[in-house]
Amino acid sequence: MSISVQVQTADFSVADEYQQLSRHSHCGAVVTFCGLVRELSNGNLHSMTLEHYPGMTEQALQAIAEQAQQRWQLGAVRIIHRIGTLTPNEQIVFVGVASAHRAAAFAAAQFVMDYLKNRAPFWKKEHSNHGEHWVQAKATDQQALQRWE
């Protein structure tokens, strides 16, 4: 089982990440999730700044990946999260899971995203025509944890 987490300003290549994940020869299932900067519905988003808590972030992501590994039989878990300034359509976060079975791969990828959304110390600030504002946490993200309890 391989776990790898990374926090970086640079972009990442989903293609390269998928290549790595698909090399696990006993893993018949690879699930990837990629989160991208969405345009605001009014189309006015210029950019988004991602702040984080250096040191804690990496530990939090590692802990989430380890919890996933304890719950499901996985071949590999990969998490990448970007920080700094991002523009619409840029990639923010990547979660990739390789497993022997698709149910485990899907569940683990969702579990990682649900916990990342609630437990990893990242904060988004949006810059638009209306100025800048901190993104508010969503109740739906907190509710998403319930199914894993």
């Binding site: 989160g35 991602l50 702040e51 984080h52 808590y53 040191g55 804690m56 530990q59 939090a60 999260h81 923010i92 976060v93 995203m113 990342l116 959304k117 609630n118 437990r119 990893a120 110390p121 990242f122 904060w123 988004k124 600030k125 901190w134 993104v135 508010q136 946490a137």
Partner: protein, 85 residues
């Protein structure tokens, strides 16, 4: 000495990313809640900002409930609900 970090909107409103707190300002057997109380004394605006119910707390870079024990040398952090991903 206890180091306290602030992030995101809270960092902006408190106008600092960090505060050092002398242990002498804390009660015996202090908890994260004791630290928060001490910080709330700093000013009216700090009292207001640090009284928000949704603040999260980390002790030594782990999310923790406010009743978590702290000791000199610990790194605490208070911050708003996270919004990454």
């Amino acid at each position: 000495m206890i180091t306290v970090l602030f992030f995101a909107a809270l960092r902006e409103r408190l106008q600092t990313p960090m505060q050092q707190l002398d242990s002498s300002r804390l009660p015996a057997d202090p908890t994260a809640a004791s630290v928060l109380s001490a910080l709330q004394q700093e000013s009216d605006s700090w009292r207001q900002e640090l009284s928000r119910q949704d603040l999260l707390c980390a002790v030594n870079q782990q999310l923790c409930p406010l009743h978590t024990r702290v000791q000199p040398g610990d790194e605490l952090a208070f911050f708003p609900p996270v919004t990454g991903g």
